[in-house]
């Protein structure tokens, strides 16, 4: 067979041609880039990470000042993004579960309200929701006129200030006591599960376990004498000092992300639960399982199999959408990197760094969820 009609040869040639085209295009683009960079005095390289940042960041999880390096500023942004993503994922999952179950409720009002909420979130842009929430939060009264709630909690336009728990001397022994009690409760839960699978009534094992934990917490606290102190927020000249303050920027971002993503998670949950065949529910009813037991032992394990992959993509979306923080003035990774790109005159390196970091976050999240997915899949016989 002549070489130009041999499919094997053609494929190799095609790949080589494709590679050559890509390399040529890449070379042309790179030469333009090099030219333009020289022309515009842009620099490339990661040495700037060791230079002094010179700018301040409003909120950070750990200590940072303007004399620290760009690298530290980058890490501050990264920590903020991770914090928002993790908290957002947890809250959105809870709200999403509630939404999904509400969508399946037989109560017409609850059902339609959940449906309306989901449609509203799906058809309006997240960015508009974020700026709207932020605009509303800024309208709260000023610091001098804060709304004070019982328990030393203050709400104003600069954020929500509440007491911060501070571990005191007796904290460690108390924590040990509570941990032991929790271990006992978990053991009770496992035991009850085994009893249920064997077909016997678990009785009040689980309740007993819970009671032990509560008793240990209270009794331990009394015995040790105040394991936790509270740092109360005090109103100073300008702001509240002490305690923990959640800024309106962070609140707007979290609330917006959670409310938006929860709608989608609700739809995913609904799809998963609806996919469990009706026969399973009927069979469960016929062997006398209660609604809760059916949900826990029959419906959820099967639904989870269907829910986990799209749930993963919703988690990824939440993590990526956290980059909209710049619109509400929260210092997340993208916001910090934009400042860095401007101040260093080195935008290309910064962009590459930021994209690589987001890619890493996505990869790690997918990997973790994949592990969980595999666990959920393998549970079938």
């Amino acid at each position: 067979m002549p070489p130009w009609r041999d499919i094997g040869v053609l494929r190799v040639v095609a790949q080589l041609v494709a590679l050559a085209l890509v390399l040529l295009a890449g070379a042309w683009l790179m030469s333009n880039l090099v030219d333009n960079m020289r022309q515009t005095r842009l620099t490339f390289g990661f040495g700037f990470l060791n230079s002094t940042a010179g700018f301040d960041i409003g909120e950070s999880l750990f200590a940072y000042s303007a004399t620290d390096t760009y690298l530290r500023a980058f890490l501050v942004g990264l920590a903020n993004t991770l914090m928002v993503s993790l908290v957002g994922i947890v809250l959105a999952t809870i709200l999403g579960l509630i939404t999904g179950i509400a969508r399946l409720s037989r109560n017409w009002l609850v059902n339609k309200m959940a449906a309306g909420y989901v449609e509203l979130m799906r058809n309006t842009p997240l960015l508009v929701q974020l700026v709207l929430i932020y605009a509303v939060l800024i309208q709260l009264p000023s610091v001098a006129n804060s709304i004070s709630l019982p328990g030393s909690i203050f709400l104003n336009q600069r954020g929500l200030s509440f007491p911060r728990p501070v571990p005191e001397q007796g904290f460690t022994p108390w924590l040990l006591i509570v941990l032991v009690a929790v271990a006992l409760a978990v053991a009770a839960h496992v035991l009850a599960g085994r009893r249920e699978e064997a077909g016997r009534d678990p009785g009040h094992l689980r309740l007993a376990g819970l009671a032990v934990v509560v008793a240990a917490a209270i009794g331990g606290a009394l015995a040790v004498g105040g394991p936790i102190g509270f740092d109360l927020p005090q109103q100073q000249r300008f702001n509240f000092v002490g305690g923990l303050t959640i800024s309106p920027e962070l609140t707007a971002l979290l609330v917006g992300l959670v409310v938006y993503t929860a709608a989608f998670i609700g739809e995913v949950v609904r799809g998963g639960i609806q996919a469990v065949r009706r026969g399973q529910l009927e069979a469960a009813a016929s062997i006398g399982l209660t609604d809760m037991q059916t949900l826990r032992m029959i419906v959820l394990p099967q639904a989870l199999r269907i829910i986990v992959p799209p749930l993963t993509s919703q988690y990824l979306n939440l993590a990526k959408n956290s980059s909209l923080a710049i619109a509400v003035g929260f210092a997340d990774l993208f916001s910090v990197s934009r400042t860095m790109a401007n101040q260093t005159g080195n935008p290309i390196s910064v962009i590459l760094l930021v994209m690589a970091t987001y890619l890493l976050i996505s990869l790690v999240t997918s990997l973790l969820m994949n592990i969980y997915n595999r666990r959920v899949q393998v549970l079938e016989r």
């Binding site: 022309q39 390289g45 000042s65 934009r338 401007n342 990869l363």
Partner: protein, 399 residues
């Protein structure tokens, strides 16, 4: 679902990137043996954006030093930009758009006003003979550097502070048209602070991408004052947060604070502290690599200074052009034989100063029209006076 293969692929790309970055400097790839610029190598602790031009100065560019196939970019050392502007027929001027008194777009009438806007018109009048042949481009603080570096705008007249790092990376700075300083504005309904030290514990609004942001951090650290910064990426959001009470104070150039305050619903409630936190010389910037264009913009500014010094304004410029006996005046206004080759040496018409002054006026007229006592800003001229009156405005001789 991303798999191990994908991880390897992305990590490989990341590694390639990190390796390539600190490898050969870009200029070493151009044939012609041009001296490699240290663009690809940064020593730790080097100033951001501070790159020594060294042998990479485009002024020494020869045809073989250019990579094959690349067209000479407009703004090359051959002075292409002036010719391009003249053939295009209008001047692309980068401005703020949201700063009352300097460059402000009134959206209902679609008209631009301000000190910087008038200087754009001055350049257009000088180069094209028509002060309205200007295309104003509103740029945010973050966008102005890249726009200048990419050569998308001909000149940036956008209350931009002249600093060494910007000189090295953004473009060439023309003469300072407004000597300013950084100030702090406080909301009197929230606080009675009178100095920076009184702002301990306060929340301060600041805009990103500005020298202000950096100076604030420096000044507060020097004074050992704890504060919470609130950073926004656009000018409107910054002042909006401030007027809503989200911050106790806002910091920027004093002229900007006064300008924005003039549009507040309650300007009397806001006061500038009696403190100057830094030097902020504001002036026009042109892209790198075009000496002729740089000279033109420089001398447009100097001509406005010189006209005020000589007492020439828009009312009497045509008279003085025809009747004055003073050789300095005759030279400036383009009367032969005094002016000789001066104007054509710059690439302009002989009477370019006359056209410009009759269109926008001299420095005093531009200042008073936009920032003077008749305007809501009412900024005292301070150092922005002629050197003969004790100020900093000093034009070199036009000869």
């Amino acid at each position: 679902m991303p798999s191990a293969r994908l991880m390897i692929v992305s990590l490989a790309i990341l590694a390639l990137v990190l390796v390539a970055c600190d490898a050969t400097p870009p200029a070493a790839q151009t044939p012609g043996g041009e001296q490699p610029t240290p663009a690809g190598q940064e020593t730790p602790g080097q100033q951001p954006g501070g790159e020594t031009p060294g042998g990479g100065e485009p002024g020494a560019q020869t045809p073989d030093a250019q990579t094959p196939g690349a067209q000479p970019t407009p703004g090359g050392p051959t002075g292409a930009r002036l010719g391009i502007i003249q053939s295009r027929g209008n001047l692309i001027c980068g401005v703020n758009g949201g700063l009352q008194g300097f460059s402000f777009l009134d959206e209902s009438t679609n008209s631009w006003s301000g000190f910087d806007a008038d200087y754009c018109r001055a350049v257009a009048a000088a180069v094209l003979g028509d002060p309205d042949a200007v295309e104003f481009r509103a740029l945010s603080a973050d966008d102005r550097g890249p726009a200048l570096q990419a050569g998308e705008i001909d000149v940036l007249i956008r209350n931009t502070t002249w600093t060494s790092s910007r000189d090295a990376s953004w473009g060439n700075f023309g003469p300072t048209t407004f000597y300013d300083g950084q100030g702090m504005m406080v909301n009197r309904s929230l606080t009675d602070a009178a100095s920076l030290e009184d702002l301990a514990g306060a929340t301060i609004c600041v805009q990103s991408g500005t020298t202000t942001e950096l100076n604030l951090a420096d000044q507060m650290r020097v004074r050992n004052v704890e504060y919470t910064p609130l950073v926004f990426d656009n000018i409107d959001a910054t002042y909006e947060a401030y007027t809503q009470g989200r911050c106790d104070a806002v910091t920027s150039d004093r002229s900007q604070l006064v300008g924005r305050r003039s549009a507040f619903s309650d300007p009397g409630e806001h006061e500038l502290l009696d403190v100057v936190m830094s030097k902020e010389p504001l002036g026009p910037v042109v892209p790198h690599g075009d000496d002729q264009w740089y000279d033109v913009v420089k001398w447009v500014v100097f001509a406005t200074f010189e006209a005020e010094e000589l007492g020439i304004d828009s009312g009497n410029v045509t008279d003085m052009a025809s009747t004055s006996e003073d050789p300095v005046v005759r030279r400036l206004l383009g009367v032969q034989p005094e002016v000789g080759e001066l104007a054509s040496g710059l690439g302009l018409e002989d009477d370019w100063v006359v056209t410009m002054i009759s269109a926008v006026g001299n420095y005093e007229e531009i200042y008073n029209r936009n920032l003077g006592p008749e305007t809501p800003l009412n900024l005292d001229r301070g150092p922005n006076q002629q050197w003969t009156d004790g100020g900093l405005l000093y034009a070199p001789p036009y000869r």
